[in-house]
Amino acid sequence: MFRAVNKRHFAEKCFALTTRLSLLLCAAVLLFLLGSILFQGIGAMSLEFLFTPAREFGKSGGIFYQLFGSLLIVLIGALLVLPLAFGTALFRNAYNSNSVIARVMDQSLYALNAIPSVTYGIFGLIFFVNFLGAGISWFVGSVILAIMMLPTVTLSTSQAMAAIPKIYNENAAALGLAKKDIIRRVTLPQSFHGVVTGLLISLARAIGETAPIMFIATAFSGVKVPNSLVEPVSTLPTHILELAQQSTDPQALQNAWGASLTLILLAAIFSGLALFLRRRLNREGRSS
């Protein structure tokens, strides 16, 4: 009996140790990655680097147009995805009372989320660029990123809506509120944090994506601020890719690290903002 207890304690300790080691390994990989980028990229970082256009295919100058292009594509993508994701989540939770349809919707969204990003790029190339004849266009890039962001934003919004206790809707309905008023007065204020969180997390992911926009929305060099919807832009991920191909040049490599650090910082800003707003909006939702 005594031996059995000891054996169980030993097994528990081994299990606890394994979980700690897993955590340490994950943290070490993350810290090494971030540390490397920070260490290598900090030398290139300056206001001049951020706000000066690239010269000599990126070997000198900064990343102004790439930064602009990246932000333009993802922010317009966010504007496009927001009503679509909100509408889908609203249908799923407020208008659809069939649990089978809800399950099918959820599974479809999870499946959509698992599609490799390059597939979205190929779809954009075939459908928008070739079939619709849109050409290489930053707007098509925004549309593709919006489609890519759709599952994350929809699922986050939907989960926030589903988390609202049913009794709130029943109480509002019992007061004679119409469905649209229940959505406006009850559902929207209490699920807003989910919309914001989903959107910012998907923005953080989308801004670093290269594959979906590489063939359809970006040019590697020679582009500035676009004058129309159907012009390409340059983005940070494609710029990093281009600079990495010139890695024998120390200056180009330095700028690649600088651009990578900028990209990481942008993703961190979106993720941090998501965390901050989620906490704040959650607290306001509970106490306001």
Binding site: S99, A174, L175, G176, D181, S288
Partner: protein, 275 residues
């Protein structure tokens, strides 16, 4: 239940001014009502008239369809998946299905308060305003209406100085009275209460019971409860339900007397039903 309480339940209450149900005008008429969740029949062929004033308590063990019946009276059960009913329910002479194509109109006339106090995450004032917005009242009118309802719910003195405070900061008992006040703001003809004191402390429960008795003098109140002592304190009319059917109904005097049928007497004395 103690022997003392058992005896007190069976003590014949002195005959008050309550009229026999047949003499009262009905606020709700239920005819041949059966309720289902999917294919599962919860209530079968129920017929009942509810007086236009006074407190009617639906009493009975869990799972007998009391809440289901209550939830169909203002069609809130429509929101529940697979819920359906057959038969006819009339409120104030109008069929709840045929005469109310817009269900919001029905719900504004038949207020409802649920078991769990549920205030919206906004101020006390905004909670009260929630059901009033469609009337597009001026600020002064809205304030007066809200004040009147809070007074009617015996809550005004406690919240007058904190109308802008978050409603969640009120005690549970106050929150439940706020829910009642919020329902009263629309001046409903009927108020449905689904075990309104089930999740609050005894002192707050008594405050709500007093409120229910006072409101029963002007409107019709239908209250679901498991609490026999509470039924004795607040009911004018008691409907004892078991297994989806009405076992017996009558005035409080009748239902707490020795003249009831065996099943009712067993439930009231032993809180047990063998239906």
């Amino acid at each position: 239940m103690t022997a003392e309480n058992t005896a007190s339940h069976l003590t014949l209450i002195e005959t008050g001014s309550q009229a026999h149900p047949e003499e009262l005008t009905s606020s709700i008429q239920i005819d041949g009502f059966s309720a289902y969740y999917g294919k599962n029949c919860i209530i079968s062929g129920l017929t009942l008239d509810i007086a236009h004033k006074g407190v009617t308590c639906l009493l009975g063990p869990s799972g007998t369809g009391k809440s289901t019946l209550l939830r169909w009276l203002n069609r809130i059960n429509e929101e529940t998946e697979n819920a359906s009913f057959t038969g006819r329910i009339k409120t104030l002479g109008l069929d709840i299905m045929e005469d109310y194509p817009d269900v919001t109109e029905l719900r504004r006339q038949i207020g409802m308060v649920f078991q769990q106090p549920c205030v919206f995450p906004c101020s006390v004032y905004d909670n009260m305003l929630m059901g009033l917005r469609h009337l597009k009242l001026s600020k002064a009118e809205a304030r007066e209406t809200i004040k009147g309802s809070l007074k009617r719910a015996a809550l005004w003195d406690e919240v007058a100085h904190r109308l802008e405070a978050p409603a969640i900061s009120l005690s549970l008992g106050q929150q439940q009275r706020l829910c009642i006040a919020r329902a009263l703001v629309l001046k409903p003809k009927v108020l449905l209460l689904d075990e309104p004191t089930a999740s609050i402390d005894p002192i707050s429960s008594r405050a709500i019971e007093d409120l229910v008795v006072a409101l029963g003098e002007t409107i019709s109140i239908v209250m679901v409860t498991h609490n026999i002592a509470q039924t004795k304190r607040v009911a004018d009319h008691v409907v004892f339900m078991c297994d989806g059917k009405i076992v017996e109904q009558g005035s409080r005097n009748h239902m707490f007397s020795l003249r009831t049928c065996d099943k009712t007497r067993t439930y009231i004395t032993e809180e047990f039903c063998d239906c």
